[in-house]
Symmetry: C2
Subunit: 437 residues, 2 copies
């Protein structure tokens, strides 16, 4: 490096010193020399905000950095605020303060970005400061960077993501270990891949928040989590896996976004995908995102979607970016060009796909015919139909499985409503979407 | 954007106006507004160097830009030189001139980077200018960006890549269509996926060049193509696919790099990988790179590895980066921190893996025993052994297939040399490495 201009350190204030924060401190300490050469100046942590000042921290965390008062972080003359406390408050207030005071911001906060991303990006742009958030989605996967930078000159047609490691671990265990949802969930909890209360993960809300963040960048859309139709994986069972396999599919929990031009279609749900799909082997706690750009074609990114070190690596990569753009005298590059607007959302009923339908029915003559004509009347055309096994006792249910040709979801729903009222039905008909991805 | 400092356009000189160059011109024209907002200033093409001034170009290419004299490109006061002519010369001379004159450089030239990458990066660093080369490897896949930026604070343990679309198309067709290598090659040529002379692709040299570029970033190594052990795919046949399948594998042509700490191991060859590997479904002309970082864990990137538009999208993303760092007053960021040195290479004989071995032998008693003891004497331990079918006539060969436990390649080679001399052998024993990736 012959033309260095900056000799001053880049001063960092860190909010939170849990596993990710500790990882950030450790990575900065371990890679000091290399990072200095990448940034053009040393990175120096000045303050670390924690709740409990007495708790043990990673050995690289110096005692004098620790504070329990947010004002202390801002009192030090910091250049970059790094937020890894998570949750809405006090993260939002502190990040907004940092933006107003002209500091660069790095955050790993998915919830915050999903709820207030467009507003925070706008605020950062107005104040000409950086707001980087690679670690908010997909842990160590450079999805934000890729959407933001590499697709600069392209137009994103669709995004398909496996973005919840808990769901993916459970579905992988159900497929490979032939265990029930409950058993797989118990295993995930035992291994620390699922929370004691797994609602946020297995019901799809975590994935929906990530789709909000992705939609901001991929489709320039202000999206609120409540706008996104969400289904979790609780209803998927072994029978579904068995038939998916038989039809040549596997089952994954997906976030899906598609730009239809005049509007966008967003949804989060389990889906059948072909066994030979590039997404099919993304198993266990791995995450993956398939972006299809008009010019670029398909681009798939896969990696550990969670975990301290992958997330910390992403946070440090963002710190480097923000520090560089700060000392380059041109802060604000990370958010420049991100423009969002309210975009019309296509209702789920109007989204077209193929469907896997399952009817648990009484085993008696005429039932298959009634199902088939019920679908036909709604304009739903059948590609494959399988009835397997015989009921052992008269009242036992047997499953009827159907793969439809592509049609509007509204049409299928109408057919299921009417078939669902037939006396031969045991329970409600089930529907899984098929994504030929 | 409230704090723009730059109102001047970023002036571009383009070397070459073939399919990629035309794509670059088109993308810049089509996305002018968005690019301006991303860069903070408009991108303006000033000169386009071509060989034939009379040839038809994309409609967005203005007549007055065209020149056949390199000096003309430099006479215009350009900020960024974009090289998409390929080949060693005149690309090298023109890029070196641009670096000396303080211009930012974007290149898609794999051959040039493989041969002179470390020297050109050093030169760019010394002159404080940018040298960006995302499009040189993996077309639209952001592998360079990911290695350079996202892994800033991490240490790359290994890289596995499917980086030659021609090989991958041929192997995919051989697997799925059960056709011979020659038939698959003919199809690839008919579809424009393979050159009339396919040597560079099917013999692995193209992939080896890409591994050189990757090694520069992933392992900080000066590597020359001739340092890399290379095997192509000509010897893989239907029997190999059949047995690979039976053992639970598929066959892919891989580039492999591994940092062993004191030295690095590099190689390019076809390999058996598990059917459930994330690399197994990367089919047809898709490319993919799996990077394993110490902190990050596995990170897989998949996309179109070639093609005009994916490559053009990568070139434009690089132009944006270089333009931004130029107008930010801090050029040279793209290469800052890339440091290379001569690193010791582990000889192939010392690399450890499992092996798939194939012996076409005379069908007579005692042969299996001789093969097994030949391997045992060399210290190679057998995991599975299959002899299938009986020879129809006395002199017909039957294949004996063996999967070994992990061992040094040198040991296996020694055993194959001695078994290969046995009179019962028809042809030479065959070896494919197994990568549990």
């Amino acid at each position: 490096m012959s033309k260095e201009r900056i000799k001053f350190p880049v001063r960092i204030g860190l909010l939170g010193c849990g596993t990710v924060g500790g990882g950030v401190i450790r990575l900065i300490a371990e890679n000091q020399e290399y990072l200095t050469s990448r940034v053009g100046a040393p990175l120096e942590i000045r303050r670390v905000l924690v709740r409990d000042a007495e708790k043990d921290r990673v050995p690289e965390c110096r005692r004098e950095w620790i504070t329990t008062a947010a004002d202390e972080v801002f009192a030090k003359d910091i250049d970059v605020l790094v937020e890894v406390i998570g949750g809405e408050e006090p993260a939002k207030t502190l990040i907004e303060r940092a933006i107003r005071e002209g500091k660069g911001v790095v955050t790993a906060n998915k919830l915050l970005l999903a709820k207030h991303g467009p507003a925070l990006v706008r605020m950062a742009t107005e104040h000409g400061v950086d707001l980087a958030f690679e670690a908010s989605v997909g842990g160590g996967i450079p999805i934000i960077r890729t959407l933001r930078e590499a697709l600069t000159s392209d137009w994103v047609e669709s995004v398909h993501g496996i973005l919840n490691g808990t769901c993916n671990y459970i579905l992988t265990r159900m497929r490979d270990g032939k265990v029930s949802f409950d058993v797989a969930l118990g295993e995930a909890q035992a291994k620390g891949y699922a929370e004691a209360d797994p609602t946020l993960d297995v019901d799809g809300h975590d994935a929906a928040q990530k789709l909000c963040v992705i939609s901001m960048l991929a489709f320039g859309a202000n999206v609120h989590e409540s706008d996104v139709p969400v289904e979790g994986i609780r209803l998927v069972d072994q029978l579904d896996f068995r038939f998916a396999e038989r039809f040549g599919y596997t089952i994954k929990h997906l976030v899906i976004g598609r730009d239809l031009g005049d509007r966008i279609a967003l949804r989060v749900h389990p889906a059948l995908i072909p066994k030979h799909s590039v997404l099919a082997n993304i198993d266990g706690v791995l995450n993956g995102v398939l972006v299809v750009g008009r010019g670029l074609g398909p681009c798939l990114l896969v990696g550990r979607g969670a975990g301290d070190m992958p997330t910390a690596v992403s946070v440090v990569a963002d710190i480097v970016d923000v520090a560089r753009s700060k000392i380059g005298g041109e802060p604000g590059l990370s958010t420049r060009g991100i423009q969002t607007q309210d975009r019309a959302l296509a209702p789920l009923a109007e989204v077209t796909s193929r469907f896997y339908l399952r009817f648990d029915v009484e085993d008696r003559p005429g039932v298959l015919g009634k199902i088939a004509s019920g679908l036909g009347e709604a304009g739903v055309s059948i590609e494959q139909m399988v009835q397997e096994g015989r009921a052992v006792e008269v009242d036992d249910a047997v499953p009827v499985l159907i793969i439809t040709h592509a049609c509007r979801e509204g049409a299928v729903r109408a057919a299921l409503d009417s078939i669902g009222r037939e006396v031969f039905m045991h329970g409600r008909p089930r529907l899984l979407r098929i994504e030929d991805v």
